[in-house]
Amino acid sequence: MAMVEPTVDTHGFPFTEGAIKFEVISTDESDPSCATFCVHDEDHTLGNSLRYMIMKNPAVQFCGYSIPHPSEFKIHIRIQTDGTMTAAKALDKGLDDLMALCQHVLETFNAKVAARDEYEIREGAEFE
């Protein structure tokens, strides 16, 4: 599967080397409030969580994602805003919000794992 290859700037995480990661498929170039974005080498993992975060934005009237074909490793994200923000900015905000959420989940999880008297530690558990 050639599409699963790593690069340095993705922290060693696999994706096609030198390939296009992101494209804009606009229906109307003069109207930046609605656009479809194509993200390569992503699936429901990012698609659905990102769609949720973008829909949490009050300026967004519609957001949906699809995988146009199961053999093509890409997702389409359609965003329609109320005009106070461009679709690209809404996508950018969604990514920022998702990162902030993950960061908080990560910090909370680490703090809870560190508090070792608050949970059961079974035989053989390893901590780093």
Partner: protein, 352 residues
């Protein structure tokens, strides 16, 4: 009066997934702006931080359970999917066969070897970037498997078991020998690279048969092949919440209790001295919906699950501890966002 009831119905719909006899009612999320009047449901990190909780149940050698409360299914599912398919590990990818006279065909043997979990910290290795990238000590672990079966000269005359009659009649994962390359011997001296489990049966041999091969482990992810998945399973379920709408007393209290797994419902004496069913530990319920098959309970109980309370369970294959896997998964989701964000900014669409 009706307004109050409507509000209750809306709250129920928003906070619970209700299970009916023949269907699950309104399972999808609805906490988006403009869904409910006079309510701001837009994303607010401060509000999220107030609501979000993690409660760890236990951490064991290879498994853990924890509750993640206050997130949407889309987010919880992203973590689960990444755990299964995108947290990298090291697994046998290339098998160079010098000799194989066992009854097992080369390709079957190679397939079986690939699935053996190899205890090598994947965070200390690089991905091999395609076939042109030469294997080095930073991206490849070499294991050797050289084994011959022979008759056991000291076998008792009446021996019937192959393990008594022959030497090396079974090829086990413990027969894999690590061959350190470059700086690996120094780097991994405290935690030598080995199979996680020693007694995995790879194939069987009989006197005169031998296997001689070199195995190259590479870093990869479960999405490409399940052998790289770091978990046996990673799953979540929503916390069950059983609501008793009308008191269930007398003999039917015992019948009600029997509809649930042990420990979910207890029968206690109520104030008027009658036995009455009480829900004591809904977490143990499997939500089999058995209770809804009995007409007498249909109006008296409501089976629900808490919409944003995920009971996560991670079972590691033993390569990395389960709590480390979750941290890796969260980091991978952040990195995915970073990559898309960078690509969006360099695409030009952002500056329209």
């Amino acid at each position: 009066m009706t307004a109050v009831h409507d509000q209750d119905a809306v709250n129920l719909m928003r906070t619970r997934v209700v299970l009916h006899k023949d269907r699950v009612a309104h399972p999808s999320s609805m906490d988006f702006p403009h869904t409910f009047p006079n309510e701001d449901l837009s994303w607010d990190l401060t509000k999220f931080k107030e609501n979000f909780r993690i409660v760890i149940g236990f951490i064991g050698k290879n498994d853990m359970e924890f509750d993640m409360i206050g997130v949407d299914a889309a987010i919880a599912n992203a973590f689960r999917r990444i755990l299964i398919g995108e947290v990298p590990t090291m697994a046998i990818e290339k098998v160079y066969i010098m000799n194989n006279t066992s009854i097992m065909h080369d390709e079957i043997l190679a397939q079986r070897l690939g699935l053996i979990p190899i205890k090598a910290d994947p965070r200390l290795f690089d991905f091999r970037r395609g076939a042109d990238d030469p294997p080095t000590d930073l991206n490849t672990v070499v294991l050797k498997l050289k084994i011959q079966c022979s008759k056991n000269p000291n076998a008792p005359p009446m021996a019937a078991l192959p393990s008594d009659k022959f030497i090396n009649s079974s090829v086990l994962s413990s027969h894999l020998q690590w061959d350190p390359q470059g700086e690996q011997a120094e780097k991994f001296k405290n935690d030598p690279i080995r199979p996680v489990i020693d007694d995995i049966l790879i194939t069987k041999l009989r006197p005169g048969q031998e296997i001689d091969m070199e195995l190259h482990c590479q870093k990869g992810i479960g999405k490409e092949h399940a052998k790289w998945s770091p978990v046996a399973t990673a799953s979540y379920r929503l916390l069950p919440d059983i609501q008793i709408l009308e008191p269930i007393t007398g003999d039917s209290a015992y019948k009600f209790q029997k509809c649930f797994p042990k420990g979910v419902v207890e029968v206690e004496q109520n104030d008027s001295g009658e036995p009455e069913a009480k829900v004591v530990n809904p977490r143990k319920d499997t939500v089999s919906r058995e209770v809804l098959r009995h007409a007498e309970f249909e109006k008296k109980v409501r089976l629900t699950r808490v919409r944003d309370h995920f009971i996560f369970s991670i079972e590691s294959t033993g390569i990395l501890p389960p709590q480390v896997l979750f941290v890796e998964a969260a980091q991978i989701l952040i990195n995915k966002c970073k990559v898309v964000k960078a690509a969006l900014h360099s695409s030009g669409a952002y500056f329209l």
